[in-house]
Amino acid sequence: MRRIYDSEALHRDDDEAFAPSEEERSVRLQALRSIDSTALSDRLIPTGLRRRAISVDVSTPRTEYSEGEPVPFSVTMKNSLPFPVTVSTASPILWTWTVDGEREASRVPLHEPPAEAGRFRFDRGERKEFRKRWEQMFRVSETEWESAAPGEYTIGAGINVEASDGAALYDETVVRVVPE
């Protein structure tokens, strides 16, 4: 593709105020100076420390919901370090939530992410909050859903790193579904 500097389309004139000048620039233009925090985080901060720096918390406004009532929950992630941290995830899906171990309350796999790592970036001291809702339904096939029976359910959320349960990158809470 022809670029602007080798195109005849641009009108250059030294005397005209709003036209680019004919002179070549003596200094090279520099991009805005910034630091690639992901690269720095990768090189300088050990993986263990990066994982320990991030905390995950799952909470629901109440612990008891009547049957059929949607259960709202919020997932809060916080970087406790005073510098940016990037966590490598197993796939481009950065984090997931589960109900009784079923990803996104689905008994069939919903996504087939490409086999490559993802990057979950946290600014210094950043707190991310995601609000989700469980409709008290489990997806049982591509096109069908089933209501959850009364009982106790564990809502969990974790960053998509391998074996996150042991580390602090996972949290869960229990809600009770009671008959109306």
Partner: protein, 359 residues
């Protein structure tokens, strides 16, 4: 063989908030010379569909599955070089905002002739000549002097015409128009649409027109697909869709068109907004906004069905199809709406319908 055949296209965006399924299992085909409309609210996946056809989806978006056959060749299997020779050449696109589609530091003429030089191997003088012809053809006055004007020296309508000239410059087989008239006022809109239609006929190009304006679809298209939350909810020949809509969403869209001389105090709209594509409602995605929704709608997602037989519609079928549980017999109360056709239904009467100049 259809000119364009899209099979089971799924496009996902991996974001921090979750996986956005912008297009989910989309099937459709466009025949040679056909004008195919795609309609839906903002966020229905119309533009993502169009961008996928040109393989212009950028990170974090990914075309997860499916195939896009153009003249029998799968665009998704092509190398970057091959797709570049198709893009702008055999498949051209008219973007919704001409001001941002044009590069502000090139002259308009240079931008149009660049495509001609690149794809058709014309030399500078020939490309300039053809560009001037094209600019003249799309209705830009004094095309020769306007050739060396910058985009900011053009009005909105003229910019859109320049973009149309660019799209038509290499004689494409398929022209994708992504809301080409959104940024224009109604008088210019009518002119531009007439022009797209006329030029597509002259150049024998098929048109995929994306819009949220049902009036535009009625004027231009032969067949329509209504999209909601990344999925097609109704596909039909244009007259069937207008005179006999089968999906409650289409009915809602129709009833929200303001009419001159309507005595109703308030305009009927569809309550609520398009759901978050990260977290689609269970069952039929439209059920939280549907006035006819029942318990079954929250548990089962209907595929596109033939409204007469209730059988699943074939992807290649050009017949009327709608994705509603009404046609599987799962709804107890059924769809309780009435369609009132004012004037004559052109499907039953070949005489010209009052006010309709197309027939």
């Amino acid at each position: 063989m259809a000119l364009l055949e899209v099979n089971d296209l799924t496009v996902k965006f991996y974001t921090q908030d979750g996986v956005v399924t912008a297009v989910n299992g989309l099937d459709y085909r466009v025949e040679r010379g056909e004008k195919f409309g795609v309609v839906g609210e903002s966020g229905a996946g119309k533009s993502v569909t169009a961008l996928s056809l040109m393989r212009l989806i950028e990170s974090p978006g990914r075309i997860e599955s499916g195939e896009i056959l153009f003249k029998g060749e799968d665009l998704l299997e092509m190398s970057e070089e091959e797709i570049r020779s198709v893009r702008g050449n055999e498949i051209a696109m008219i973007f919704q905002d001409a001001q941002t589609a044009l590069n502000p530091v090139y002259t308009v003429g240079e931008q149009v002739s660049e495509a001609i030089r690149h794809h058709l191997d014309y030399d500078d003088a020939e490309a300039r000549e053809r560009t001037i012809q094209l600019l003249d053809r799309v209705g830009i006055p004094e095309a020769e002097t306007r050739y060396s004007d910058y985009p900011h020296q053009f009005s909105g309508g003229m910019q859109q015409r320049a973009v149309i000239a660019m799209a038509l410059s290499c004689d494409p087989g398929l022209l994708i128009c992504d809301e080409p008239t959104t940024a224009l006022d109604v008088t210019i809109e009518a002119e531009i649409l007439d022009q797209i239609e006329e030029l597509a006929d002259d150049f024998d190009a098929a048109v995929q027109l994306i819009t949220h304006d049902l009036g535009v679809i009625a004027q231009v298209c032969d067949r329509v697909m209504v999209m909601y939350a990344g999925k097609p909810v109704e596909k039909a020949p244009v007259e069937d869709l207008y005179y006999d809509p089968k999906h409650p969403y289409t009915v809602g869209l129709m009833s929200s068109i303001p009419r001159v001389g309507d005595s109703r105090e308030r305009l009927q709209t569809i309550p609520g907004t398009m759901p978050d594509l990260v977290e689609l409602p269970t069952g039929c995605s439209f059920h939280p906004r549907c006035p006819y929704a029942e318990e079954a709608c929250t548990r089962k997602e209907p595929p596109l069905l033939d409204p007469e037989t209730g059988a699943e519609a074939a992807a290649s079928s050009a017949e009327h199809a709608a994705a509603c549980l009404e046609y599987t017999g799962d709804l107890r109360d059924g769809l309780d709406y009435e369609i009132e056709v004012r004037g004559q239904d052109p499907r039953t009467d070949v005489r010209q319908v009052e006010g309709d100049q197309d027939d």
